[in-house]
């Protein structure tokens, strides 16, 4: 299935846990330190450096860009570390998150409530994933280095829907199907 950003309520409604999706368009990169700053900014009542409404955030901290390249290796980081911040961003309109690994129940509840989805990219396929990133630009928190807030242009960026807006969970489904006693 192909998906373009920004996400609409209609495109999100079509996504089901386990769907394989290729994303094209603009996505934003933020991990631990950038999330901390964004939520602190919101707590002060100030605007974020980027309007997250309808957008996707990619939990990632790339390896350094070599001369002549768009970006270094760029695979997902463990999403659970952003659980503390994610509901706050969904509340103001964030519609998608890309990462890898488990989310806690309050985050899954927020996805249902605010109609947002969680996608997994393949952890450790970072050199391969990098080939789908066509442009990369640091847009805020440059001093955080690998943890800066970035804007990416991606083409056919491969992900799987883990948590949809209906409470579906691809990790739970997959495990149930293949577990043996």
């Amino acid at each position: 299935m192909k998906l373009t950003t920004p996400l609409t309520d209609e495109s999100i409604a079509n996504l089901k846990a386990g769907d394989r999706v290729e994303i094209t368009g603009t996505i934003y990169v933020a991990r631990d330190a950038a999330h901390k700053r964004m939520v602190e900014t919101l707590d002060r009542g100030e605007p974020l450096p980027v309007d997250v409404r309808g957008q996707i955030v990619y939990y990632m901290g790339p390896s350094p860009t070599k001369p002549g390249q768009v970006i270094g290796s760029a695979g997902p980081t463990t999403s659970g570390r952003m659980d503390r911040y994610a509901p706050r961003l969904m509340e103001i309109g964030l519609k998608g998150m890309i990462g890898k690994g488990l989310r806690i129940p309050p985050v899954k509840d927020a996805m249902k409530k605010f109609k947002a989805v969680y996608f997994a990219a393949t952890g450790g396929a970072a050199a391969l994933i990098s080939q789908r990133i066509k442009k990369a630009k640091v847009i805020a928190y440059e001093e955080l280095g690998a943890e800066a807030l970035q804007e990416l242009q991606v083409e056919d960026f491969p992900v799987i829907v883990v948590n949809d807006i209906y409470g579906g969970d691809a990790y739970e489904d997959g495990k149930k199907q293949y577990a043996r006693n």
């Binding site: 990632m60 980081t77 952890g123 450790g124 391969l128 080939q131 691809a170 149930k176 043996r180």
Partner: protein, 281 residues
């Protein structure tokens, strides 16, 4: 006394850091290929295909295998007949990490202060150095770039002696079950049994330096490794946690004597990007 220049140690560490982050060991590649052959889940097969393609791209030397090029874990076996000249051993290692991570465009993932400022040290130092003094006149250095995602799934269980073999199995399997998709399965599970709390954790990590497909030379321990792997793979977590037959490629166990009151069990998880390179000077 055989002399080894500190600068030679620095150059070696720098080279190994770059190599380890671009060239996955043949044993791990073979294990991933084998996993692809036996995996039944379509999502799992797709993930394993991606990982094998990733290995091919990284091998060209431009993109590291993973963006998380890790904490530089360094295992040193220093022959007692070696005299290091022109600098200090630990400093030579840190300098090598600094050089390799700069020249190789590897990510600098260390923060100097862990619980408040968390400011990046910007050169990936300090390295985590474990040194053993051994007989001989050689210096054996191994670098294992260790990612944060899998390291965060580590666990220590101070089990009771009465928990026995079954207690060890239950603790290890439940640790991997809870970790789920977080540590980037298919993983390699390192287990240290015995010793003290700190020694059990180091044994767990050290066991990850054994090639995939090799077993502990002790028969009883090897049988435990087999049983652990089977039980872990029966969890159904699968490649990237999306469900499947292959959750781990290997379970490696190292054991040590311990106190009459204790049975420490350390678990250290390695992601599929199980990187390490070694050199003997």
């Amino acid at each position: 006394m055989r002399e080894i220049q500190a600068s030679q140690i620095t150059e070696t560490i720098a080279r190994l850091a770059i190599e380890a982050n671009h060239y996955l060991g043949e044993d791990v590649v073979a294990a991933l290929q084998n996993a692809r052959a036996v995996e039944e889940s379509p999502q799992g097969k797709e993930v394993l295909d991606q990982l094998l393609k990733n290995v091919e791209i990284a091998k060209q030397g431009t993109f590291p295998l993973c963006q998380d090029t890790g904490v530089a874990v360094i295992a040193v076996e220093l022959g007692q007949e070696v005299h290091i000249v022109g600098g200090e051993l630990n400093q030579a290692i840190h300098d090598g990490v600094k050089k390799g991570y700069a020249e190789g465009f590897l990510r600098k993932s260390m923060v100097g202060q862990p619980f408040s400022s968390r400011k990046n040290t910007k050169d990936n130092t300090p390295a985590m150095i474990h040194t053993d003094i051994v007989p001989g006149d050689k210096l054996h250095i191994t670098i294992m770039p260790k990612g944060g995602g899998c390291e965060n799934m580590s666990a220590l269980g101070m089990l009771k002696p009465a928990d026995g073999r079954q207690g060890v199995i239950d603790f290890v399997v439940s640790t991997i079950d809870k970790a789920g998709s977080n540590p980037c399965p298919p993983t390699i599970v390192g287990v240290g049994i015995g010793g003290s709390a700190d020694q059990a954790m180091w044994l767990a990590k050290k066991s990850l330096l054994r090639p995939v497909g090799e077993y502990n030379p002790d028969e009883e321990t090897a049988a435990l490794e087999n049983e652990l792997l089977e039980k872990i793979n029966n969890l159904g977590i699968g490649p990237m946690g999306l469900g499947g037959r292959i959750t781990s490629l290997a379970a490696n166990v190292l054991v040590a004597p311990c106190h009459i009151a204790s049975m420490p069990v350390g678990v250290n998880v390695q992601c599929h990007s199980a990187r390490y390179k070694e050199a003997v000077l």
